[in-house]
């Protein structure tokens, strides 16, 4: 069994972010970049499959982004992936996940062997979109199951059962392999790589490739053009309601009805 894990580097969710004055992007000064938390679930799931089964031949990690994303790829290798593919793109295309998915598909289909499982995060906490996984499945001609919280692969490694979270319940989905899965919180708890594994990861092979040199990508361009970033519209200052709890309850209900008109 061969497993592909897709990881992306994103700003730490704790970072307070600001936009460059000309709106051309994020002010990266002082911002810590980390592996997208949902992608860590994907990496962890891949490594756990290898620990539990004897038929996992290879785990390949792929990342797409600016050159600095190599650091995130190394973290995934330290978690247990065997080798890495780093696809380098210009930052301006990072907002079009269809384009990113096309480039990843172009990179991984160079290898005729193919993958039995492709694991992605449910969404990146940079674009907050979640387009990449389903789009990659389409480009690879695979079925996909989105936002899974439980995964069981059968003994012979040709079928899988997954539970996915939907509004108001869980969907139980059965599928043949190969398949692409996007990982939701609750699937697994990502491990912290140990120091020896971090050291080992530095020696694992990584292929670095410019997206434009991939098959079919020379002429490809994002269909969605990035125009700019802006801070979210400021909310009006909070109106503090004072008084005894009884007075607060009365006044709050009054403003919600008469001013805000929401109840």
């Amino acid at each position: 069994m061969r497993i592909l894990v897709v990881v992306k580097q994103v700003p730490d969710s704790r970072a307070s972010l600001s936009v460059l004055a000309d709106g051309s992007g994020l002010d990266k000064a002082g911002v810590r970049f980390v592996c997208n938390p949902f992608d860590e679930f994907a990496a962890e799931q891949a490594v756990q499959l290898r620990e539990k089964r004897s038929d996992v031949d290879e785990i390949v990690a792929v990342t797409i982004g600016p050159a600095e994303a190599l650091q995130t790829l190394r973290t995934t290798l330290a978690m247990g992936a065997d080798r890495g593919i780093q696809i380098v793109v210009d930052e301006s295309v990072m907002f079009d996940e269809l384009y990113l998915a096309r480039a990843i598909a172009a990179a991984v289909t160079r290898d005729e062997q193919g993958y039995d499982l492709v694991l992605c995060g449910k969404q990146g906490i940079d674009n907050d979109a979640g387009d990449l996984g389903p789009a990659l499945a389409e480009y690879l001609g695979l079925p996909h199951i989105g936002a899974i919280v439980e995964l069981v692969v059968n003994e012979s490694g040709d079928r899988a059962n997954a539970k996915r979270q939907i509004e108001g319940g869980l969907e139980v989905v059965e599928t043949g392999l190969p398949v692409l899965l996007t990982c939701e919180k609750g699937l697994v708890e990502p491990r912290y790589p140990s120091l020896p594994n971090i050291m080992k990861a530095k020696k694992k092979p990584v292929e670095t490739v410019d997206a434009k040199t991939l098959p079919g990508m020379a002429e490809a361009a994002p269909r969605a053009t990035f125009i700019g970033l802006s801070p979210p519209p400021a909310r009006e200052a909070c109106t503090i309601i004072e008084g005894t709890p009884e007075e607060m309850a009365k006044e709050l209900v009054r403003v919600l009805r008469e001013e805000a008109k929401v109840i």
Binding site: N127, P143, V172, V179, R223, A224, L229
Partner: protein, 331 residues
């Protein structure tokens, strides 16, 4: 000419989602600005009368893909249905609601048809035939603006409650056209076996207009009952912070935030929630936010419309009683 606007109408157990109805307002706006007719697609199994609810919203064509394999969502089958419908009506723009399904199927449709995609749009406007859209990104800390081209297919999912639904028109214009989808041709290996409903007694946060949400300080599952009482009076649902979920006070499907659900209800009442940036990522888009917290400098107040610096255990029951009185007086 291919310039129709196709609205994908999502239904769940025989009810059309409000978020899907709201799409008709945007569809009409785009038809006015860019030309083209508004068309609609409903997909499901045995959805009979539902289609007529859509007809009252004024689509010029109303396609219905009604077949047993559509009983549960399947990415490939639904992708095929939407692509077939887009071809049938000559769609240039496909509109979906940003729901679990909309997020899942939109990228496949756009990828399959070689189109442009924008997920979770909160603003859409026309610019010489192209579309300028805004969408929250970086956990809601920034708004990204993108342009989708004037030529080729464009797939947009729109955040619920971004637009108000249009008033139903008494004289529906469209006849229902059955859409035959060649599902066998897809040969998908993935099938949904069943849907296990969670806690069907209470509504899900993604299905309501009002959310009463609790943090770690609520303390226990039993203590959450005062929040459920308030939610029930308001016909809303209960949400929770990750800290409350991690402490086992609420099931995970109630978690709001970065690693939970993103919601944009009309009213969000945060009870004993500190307002961590990862929580704000999930609810900042709510129209009105009420913060109830004992700590006057809790970050939640900076996101709130109204704030009460008070013990939630004192205020929430009083609030429920007061709302009950008000709503009883209405009827």
């Amino acid at each position: 000419m291919s310039n129709s606007i196709l609205v994908f109408v999502e239904q769940r157990e025989g009810t059309i989602l409000p978020a899907s109805l709201q799409l008709f307002t945007l569809a009409q706006q785009l038809a006015t600005e860019q030309g083209g007719q508004v068309c609609a697609l409903v997909v499901g199994a045995r959805i009979g009368e539902l289609a007529s609810d859509c007809a009252a919203l004024g689509p010029k064509r109303l396609l219905v893909a009604d077949a047993p394999p559509f009983r549960y969502y399947s990415p490939r089958a639904y992708t095929q249905a939407i692509c077939d419908a887009a071809a049938t009506v000559g769609a240039q723009t496909v509109l979906l609601a940003t729901t679990a399904l909309g997020r899942d199927v939109g990228p496949r449709v756009a990828a399959k048809l070689g189109g442009a995609l924008a997920t979770d749009c909160t603003s859409v406007s026309s610019h010489n035939g192209s579309l300028r859209i805004q969408r929250p990104s970086y956990c809601g800390k920034c708004i990204a603006e993108l342009e989708l081209p004037a030529d080729g297919l464009r797939v947009l999912s729109v955040r619920p409650n971004t637009f108000a639904a249009p008033e139903p028109d008494a004289a529906p214009a469209a006849e229902v056209e059955p859409l035959a989808v060649d599902i066998d041709a897809i040969g998908s290996r993935a099938t949904t076996l069943e849907v296990v409903k969670s806690d069907s007694m209470h509504k899900d946060v993604s299905e309501v207009d009002i959310i009463v949400s609790g943090g770690r300080s609520v303390g226990s599952e039993e203590d959450f009952s005062i929040l459920y009482d308030l939610a029930e009076v308001l016909d809303g649902a209960v949400g929770a912070s990750r800290a409350a979920v991690d402490a086992g006070q609420q099931p995970r499907d109630r978690q709001i935030g970065l690693t939970g659900k993103v919601v944009s209800p009309r009213l969000y009442i945060a009870c004993g929630i500190d307002g961590a940036i990862q929580h704000l990522a999930g609810m900042r888009g709510s129209r009105v936010i009420v913060a109830i917290n004992t700590k006057a400098d809790a970050p939640i107040f900076s996101a709130a419309t109204y704030g009460c610096v008070v013990d939630l255990f004192e205020l929430v029951p009083l609030l429920a009683a007061e709302c009950k009185r008000l709503l009883a007086a209405d009827s």
